[in-house]
Amino acid sequence: VTVTARDITLVELVDRVLNKGVVLNGDLVLGVADVDLVYVGLRLLLASAGTLDRLDGPA
């Protein structure tokens, strides 16, 4: 059963793509010596209410 067409709201996307999924270990960023894994601390960024508010701000 496919319930919805593939017109997905940004909120649904944020709910899944940005807030869920396998998290790589460590919030490492590019430019750190001897670190191959490049992962920016998105979860922290997105957990802040400020970011969520701005998501819905005037375009």
Partner: protein, 250 residues
């Protein structure tokens, strides 16, 4: 082999397995598999001008960029879902090169195998329950005295508390019912009105893991709609199992 230079990184979309010819065809030119036929990561090349740490925060607050990028991520993951078992990676999983992806896979080999085993043949559906703002059915009599006003306030407060308790109880039962129609379920925080932009209030934001092609959850939602005419039910899916990549706590 996708080029990974100083200006690009490998963006991981999902851990998948097993890898079939069908999956390879689905990937086309823009995406690549790193790993083995049993367990692999689907990656694409992205410019660091978008994902570098210095620009990413700004990008994330650019609604248009975020919508476009998150949509693209979801679209890739959704295509994979038709060909194999998928454990989506969180948005923004970046590696410097293929060797880094390989060592990441090796380090989590057992974990990923058991996750994929648990998710095999299953998809995620979302169920949101909405409540329209209550309108008072009868105009209330104007209070004629200070005491009358205070009593009315108290009655209003008591009836609001009772209504909330009643709603919470119904939502708990609704979740339990839906949980029985699937193999696992989770309740997420309802999205606030500022995000949904809806007049109705989201009172339940739940997700369920169900066998692919099974319509038990769908039927159950139809029944619940009839049982709770004052609530609005929204069913979305099938999604890749974003909410179930981690072992449920129960």
């Amino acid at each position: 082999m996708i080029d990974s230079s100083a200006d690009t990184a490998l963006y991981g979309y999902a851990v998948v397995g097993p890898v079939s010819d069908e999956l390879r065809e689905e990937l086309g030119d823009g995406l690549e598999l790193i790993g083995t036929d049993e367990l692999a990561v689907v990656v694409g090349s992205v410019p660091l001008s978008d994902f570098g740490e210095d620009v990413l925060e700004k990008r994330l607050n650019d609604r248009e960029w975020l919508a476009e990028t998150a949509t693209a991520h979801e679209a890739v993951v959704h295509r994979l879902l038709a060909c194999t078992t998928v454990a989506p990676l969180r948005f923004g999983s970046l590696h410097r090169n293929a060797a880094s992806v390989e060592s990441f896979l090796e380090a989590h080999d057992a974990e990923f195998r058991s996750t994929l085993e648990r998710l095999r043949g299953r998809v995620e559906f979302g169920v949101k329950v909405w409540l329209e703002p209550r309108e008072r059915s009868e105009p209330r009599p104007a209070a004629t005295s200070g005491r009358g006003y205070l009593e009315q306030l108290r009655r209003d407060r008591d009836s609001a508390a009772t209504a909330q308790e009643d709603l919470d109880e119904r939502l708990t039962r609704i979740h339990e019912t839906l949980l029985r129609a699937g193999v696992a379920g989770r309740v997420n925080r309802p999205q606030p009105r500022e995000l949904t932009g809806a007049t109705a209030e989201m009172v339940l934001n739940a997700v369920y893991l169900v066998p692919a092609g099974d319509d038990a959850l769908f039927s159950e939602v139809q029944r619940l709609k009839e049982q709770h005419p004052d609530l609005e039910f929204e069913l979305t899916g099938p999604w890749a199992p974003y909410n179930f990549v981690e072992e449920p706590e129960q």
